[in-house]
Symmetry: C2
Subunit: 393 residues, 2 copies
Amino acid sequence: MTIANYISQILSRSSWIRRMFEEGTRLKAKHGAGNVYDFSLGNPNLEPPHEFKAALQQAVMNSAAGLHAYMPNTGYPHVRQAVADYLCQEQKMPLTANEVIMTCGAAGALNVILKALLDPGDEIISPVPGFVEYTFYAGNHGGILKTVPARADFTLDIGAISAAVTAKTKAVLVNSPNNPTGQIYSEESLVKLGMLLKNKGKEVGHTLYLISDEPYRKIVYDGSKVPGIFKCYPESIIASSYSKDISIAGERIGFLAVNPQAAFKAELLGGMALANRILGFVNAPALMQRVVASIQGASVDISVYTRKRDLLCDGLADCGYQFVKPSGAFYLFPKTPLPDDVQFVQALQEELILTVPGSGFGGPGYFRIAFCVDDSTIINAMPGFKRVMEKYK
Amino acid sequence: MTIANYISQILSRSSWIRRMFEEGTRLKAKHGAGNVYDFSLGNPNLEPPHEFKAALQQAVMNSAAGLHAYMPNTGYPHVRQAVADYLCQEQKMPLTANEVIMTCGAAGALNVILKALLDPGDEIISPVPGFVEYTFYAGNHGGILKTVPARADFTLDIGAISAAVTAKTKAVLVNSPNNPTGQIYSEESLVKLGMLLKNKGKEVGHTLYLISDEPYRKIVYDGSKVPGIFKCYPESIIASSYSKDISIAGERIGFLAVNPQAAFKAELLGGMALANRILGFVNAPALMQRVVASIQGASVDISVYTRKRDLLCDGLADCGYQFVKPSGAFYLFPKTPLPDDVQFVQALQEELILTVPGSGFGGPGYFRIAFCVDDSTIINAMPGFKRVMEKYK
């Protein structure tokens, strides 16, 4: 073979999400985009908020020298300071610019974190259903992702995580609000998880980290709050981005932050700055760093996603679908009425409805609906959802 | 240890370039920036050309929907088409958008290429003096960088490359115009290298690729031309960026292109699209993709770098320094008058002149001067260069 064996293997069993995306492209070309109901990809359909547009125009009008040149690999000091100031409020803990590294989105942040942490064979534990790409991110750096089942309501199963810890475990990786379930982990469960990691860390003789991937933190419903991870466990690291809450997923801008109380903070931050450089990111895109610095706390209008969630949940409940109503993110993860979720998703495709099988998220027997789409897509797809349910229930 | 052993090790013997950069920051804080002569980093000091600024302002005024959203992982089709159209001229060969992937700079492109190619233990051969980061890029993906010496005038030593090929070799990686030597490899030598790789590939029973890292292609002097690699060898891949020629290194925008004649073109491009996604780049930054598409062929005023090169070369020749005058890029790589280049660079630091020891590039007994600086820095540093030479010659 000409390319790497590992790449060749994963190419042949590539991400369901992208496969559905491509099937969607084909169906749209055949039937017309307006006649296909595409719920397959978490590509926010809301435009960025006016604060973003104003900040971008202002940044571009700035005629100072060197604005597009290299800056320190960790990002502009003033940008890191702005993120740290915001995180102080969010995490209810003093933070400095030194604890923040600007990254190419949360995907970049996670790769930088895992590159800095993992020796070959090291294990990362993550609950499923969960984001399929984590397996690749761990594998990129010689690590192994060990998935453990969440509870039936998609909350953390601390016992299952506890049972999965071995001498090779380096970290637990959580994603809350969760893709694909929309679940938010409670402060109580995160404190318990922190206690577990503290105790297990003593047993195995090394620090066990808690990595929190939280790009959906601002997208929450019904007054839900996402607990700050830093108060729950000192050995914790945040990865986040502006992709979802500002609707700028294509710009690749995010950050990582290390808990100011982490025992090996300097080593972690030094290792991550190095990893950011040698993985080829070098630094987060310059212009977008300066833009997001000036709009900390901004987000799209979350009430629009609330309306879409309710439209979808009410409609599907009427059709007989069973699901846990999501408290955050823009995904719904209903049960499939037949055990084979791939077969069910294919049946939906015959109705020109594009979704993703739960198997792609370690959750067979479910399917994911990304509802960051036009209201009309939700409304007009409902008869199709109903017909497929009636066929299989 | 808390972080990965490998990261911990390379942190402790980290890049000379960055160490010098940090020493420069310290000296500038102590003596005032205007009194320190910083030749340590290839961070272009010219502002981006007016075409860039105009294109950026136009891109930002565009109010179409979805301009900051995800696009295909390989980049916008119209951007890839624009790059392909330009490469048709440059490489004198028909190319399509399908053969181009937009990346987060050339460093991103190289990591994507190596991720797609390397199985654990695979070897990449690269001439030295050369770019120090290649060792890390190969290591990121389980590979090993084997360096081979260039000839005394920094041209390719085909015999040395030939002797380094083993059954584990996957590719040869060249950088022309070269960092740190400024050498441009001749078409004749690249054709010879192509012949070698073809023959050796038959011997070892697999394709040997030629990877050309060429971010300095447009920065050339005295009418020099950089030969197109695609005509020299069919199994070739280009990595490049707009960092140096447009002076936008902080924006992380570049591309890779696969030779249209490559035998396993589809596998290569599929593997690289996947690698771009799972390494966490996901896609090259959206806005900058659209900007560079509309200014293909633009560059800063190269005559300004010519003037800086001549100022530096003439001045240092008068002081008695020996060097090969660079044909491209913005680096000069003179011999140190004493064998220990680290000691010599420290002596220059005492004159507040910041350069990088050749050891950092696999070229001990030399030092690198990045002349992408103000003319006054070159002129005012000259007495210091002279004093240090007179001390050691």
